[in-house]
Symmetry: C2
Subunit: 525 residues, 2 copies
Amino acid sequence: MTLTGKLLIGQHAITGHREAIRGIDPATDAALEPAYFGGDAGQVGQTCALAEAAFDPYRETSVEQRAGFLDTIAQEIEALGDALIDRAMAETGLPRPRLLGERGRTCHQLRLFARTVRAGEWLDVRIDPAQPQRQPLPRADLRQRQVPVGPVAVFGASNFPLAFSVAGGDTASALAAGCPVVVKAHGAHPGTSELVGRAVARAVKACGLPEGVFSLLYGSGREVGIALVSDPRIKAVGFTGSRSGGLALCQAAQARPEPIPVYAEMSSINPVLLFPVALRNRGEALARGFVASLTLGAGQFCTNPGLVIAFKGPALDAFVADAAEHLQHSAAQTMLTPGIFSAFESSVNALAENALARIAAVGQRATGPNQCQAHLFVTDAVDFLADRRLQAEAFGAASLVVQCEDFDEIRQVTEHLEGQLTATLHLDDGDLEQARALLPTLERKAGRLLVNGWPTGVEVCDAMVHGGPFPATSDPRSTSVGTAAIQRFLRPVCYQDFPDALLPQALRQANPLGLRRLIDGQREA
Amino acid sequence: MTLTGKLLIGQHAITGHREAIRGIDPATDAALEPAYFGGDAGQVGQTCALAEAAFDPYRETSVEQRAGFLDTIAQEIEALGDALIDRAMAETGLPRPRLLGERGRTCHQLRLFARTVRAGEWLDVRIDPAQPQRQPLPRADLRQRQVPVGPVAVFGASNFPLAFSVAGGDTASALAAGCPVVVKAHGAHPGTSELVGRAVARAVKACGLPEGVFSLLYGSGREVGIALVSDPRIKAVGFTGSRSGGLALCQAAQARPEPIPVYAEMSSINPVLLFPVALRNRGEALARGFVASLTLGAGQFCTNPGLVIAFKGPALDAFVADAAEHLQHSAAQTMLTPGIFSAFESSVNALAENALARIAAVGQRATGPNQCQAHLFVTDAVDFLADRRLQAEAFGAASLVVQCEDFDEIRQVTEHLEGQLTATLHLDDGDLEQARALLPTLERKAGRLLVNGWPTGVEVCDAMVHGGPFPATSDPRSTSVGTAAIQRFLRPVCYQDFPDALLPQALRQANPLGLRRLIDGQREA
C-alpha cells in the first residue's frame, strides 16, 4: 500500500496544485513521506461538482444499499491491517493500543449507523390521511419523511485520526443520512487519511455507487477549508477542532448567499463537581481516578476534565495533595503535533503567570520533543468568577481546582461557566440534595451529565450526546457522537395528495419498508 | 374588555417608554385607539429577566400541567368571543369568516400541541443500559432525553393576526417544549395582540405558573426586536415576515457572544407546474382553481401561487386566457396594512416595467384605500432564467406564468428557483413520468410538494412541513406549522450512570410516563 500524496476526487487520485504538507512524527520531529500537495479553488469546485452529481442517485439508494455501503467501509478499513495502525502511530505519536481501540470504535460506529439506517426511525414517517368529509373543509392526505440535506463537508480532527476523521462520526452519519461527503483531511495525519480515504473509495466502487459520494482533499484551512464551506453545492458542515477554527467556518457559512448549518465541536473544560460526602468518603480514590482521566492520551480529549469544583477545606486539601502526588509521577507524553504542544505550553504558561492561580503540581519532565508535562492549578471561586481567562481551555493534561467557600459559591461558579460538552458529579447518598439543586443549571450548561465516572470515555450508542451549548459546539441541538448525529443532515419534506405510485417507498400505503409510522397521531405498533 | 395600550410584562400591564403606535383600519385609513407605547431597552431586559426566572420552574412542570396550560390558553381565547374578532377585523381588513376560521385554527393548534406534549414522543427517550461485563471496557448506563432550549422570542406576523401571532404556532410550540415566550406584537394589530396576550396571561395565572412564562411587548423592530434577539437570556427566535426582517434578526442572533438559532419564515413564490396532459384535459378548471388560490385573502399568504411553469402552446394559451378572464372579474380586496399595499404596488409596477414580462390581466379597480388589484404576468423561460428579479416575491395577488419550450427548459427553470415553502404539480396519469423526473429537484427546492391541489391551505397536523430551503426559511431542517415545530426548541441531554432517584421522570427505570423508549437499539412496543 504505497501512499501517493494525492487528492482523491471521486475515484481519481490527483496531485494538488498548491504547496505541499508532510506528516510529522511528533516523537522525533521528523517529516514523513510522501508530500501532500494542497488542492486549489478549481480542485475544490471540481470535487463539489462531483458530490452534487452524486447526490440524487445516492439518496435514492435503498436503505439496504446504504447500510451495506457503511458495512463495506468498515470491512475495507479493517482490511488495511497493520499498515493503517503503523502510519497513524508515526503521524500522531499515539500508542498502538489506543489506535487499535480507535479503529475498533470507528468500525463499530460505521456498523451502528448501518443498523440505524436499516431500522428506519430516522425517516420519521408521519401520515395524516385525507378526510374528504371533514367540515368546514376537507383535509388533504399529508405525508412527511426526512430527506438528506445535500453534500456535506467534513473536517478531520487532530486528536482522533480515525474516529473523528476521514471515516469518523461526521462522515458516517452524513453518509447514513444520504449525503455525499467531501472530507478535508487534517494536516496532522495525511497518510492515515489517505489510507482510510482509499478504503472508503474502494467501498464506493464495490457498492456500485456514483464516485462523487466520497472525496478527500488536502490543503490549508484558509484556502481549501473556506472554499469548501463557501461552495454553493455544500449544504452542511461537520467539524471538530479549535474554537477559532470552528468560528471561522461558521462565519464563512453565514456569509454565503444561502447560509448553511455548521456543526462545530469546539472547546470544553468539562467541570467535575466533587460533593462533600463523596470527597470525604473516598477522596483518595477520586484523586487517582481524576489524574488518570486528566493524563489519558496526554489530555488530548474534548472531554478532558479541565476544571474541578469543590468546597474548600481539609477534604479538598487532601484531594489536591493526593492528586498532586499522582500527577508528579505521571510521565510526560508525546502530543499529537508540534503545534498542539506549543499551544499547550502557552496555555499552561499563561495560567502559571496568572496571579489568581497557583501551581499545585507538575508531572514528569519531557524526555523528547513535543512532550506534555501535566499541570494542576488551584484557585478560589472569587478569583475564578473575576477572571474569564481562568476558564480558557488548555488542550492537554492541565486542570484547575476551584475552591468554594459555600454552596452559593459553587452555584455561582457553575452559573458562570460557558457551555460544556460534559459536567461530572461525584456524589454519595448524602450529597443527593445538593446535586439535585444544581441539576437545572448543569443541564443548561452541558450536553452530558455523569455521576461518579470520568468524562473521557465517550460511548458510541443511541443515547450519547457529544454536544452542548456554545462554545462547546456551534449547535447545542445536536450531537456529533452516537446515532442521533444522523439528524444533523436531514430535513423534512411533506407530500400532499400524492398518487401512491409517485410517493417515495417510505411513504407508500403498503409500507414496504415496514416502518412504525405516526398515523393520525397514533404510532403504529 | 377595555384595551389598555400597555406592555404585558409577566402579569403586569406597564406603559412603554417609547413613541406610540396605533392600529390602523386599512379599509378607511383611520387610526384606532388606544395608543401603544413602545418598550425600551430597560423594559426588554426586565421582561427577559422574568422569562429567565420562569424557565427552570416552567420546564419542571409535568407533561399534564403543560398540556393543561395549552388547553387553558385555547379556552381563554375562545372566551374572548366577538370582541376579538371585531378588533381583528378593524385592524386587518380581513373578513369575519376568515377570522373565525383562523381563531378555530389557532385553538386547534394549541390543543394539538397539548396532545403532542401528552404523547411524549418529543422527549425522544433513548436508553443504553450498562454492560459491566463488556470487554475490553464496561459500558456505562446512558440515557438521553430532550430538554427545552430556554426563553424564546416570538415575532408576530402581519398576515395571520391569530394563528401566526401572539398565541400562534411559534408560541404554542415553544410553550409545549417548555420554553417561556416573549412575544413582540406586530404593529399592524396591537389591539388583537393585547386581547390574546391577556388571554394567555390569564391562563398562566389560572394554571399557577410563574408569570415570566409569557410576556408581550410592543415597539419597533429595530429597538425592541433587536434588543430581544440580542438579550443573552433569549435562546431561540421564531419569526414570520419579510426577507429583510428575517435576515436582520439572523444577523443579530449570529452577532451575539453566544449565537442562537433563528427560525425565520421569510419569502416564497410557490411554483405551480402544469403538466401537459393535465393542462390539456382540464385547463379551464385549473385556471379557475388557480385564480381562486391566487386571490384568496388578497394573496396575502406565504404559500400564495406566485409562479406558474408550463409548456408553451395552445393549451397554456387557453389556460392564460381563462385565468385572465377570471382574474379580470376578481374584486379588489383591502390589504392588511398601508405598508403592505404600497410594497405590493411597487412590486407589481416593477414587473410591469420589466421588458421581459408582459401583463396578461389585471383585476377590478380599487374602490377604497389599500385595495389590492390582482395581476397576472407572462414571460418566457429564457427571460426568467436571465433575470433574477422575475422571481422576487410580490406579497399579494400577483403571479407570473413562465412559458417553456420543452422539458429541458422546465427542468432549468425549476433548477433556477430559490428555496420555496411549496411546489405544486398538476398532473394526470400520462404526466407521471415527467413529474417523477422532476421530483428530486423539487424535493431539494421546497418543504411541501402537492399534487393536484393549491398551496394556500396549510393544515395544522403531524405531517405538515411549512418550511423549506433558504430563503423560504432560515432553517430548512424545521417546520413552523404542525407538531414537528416543537423540535425547534429542544436539545438533547445525556445522563450517565445516574442513580434512579436523581433522574428526570422521563428517564426513570420504572417508566412512570409510559413512554415508548428506544432501549439498546430496540423500540418498546
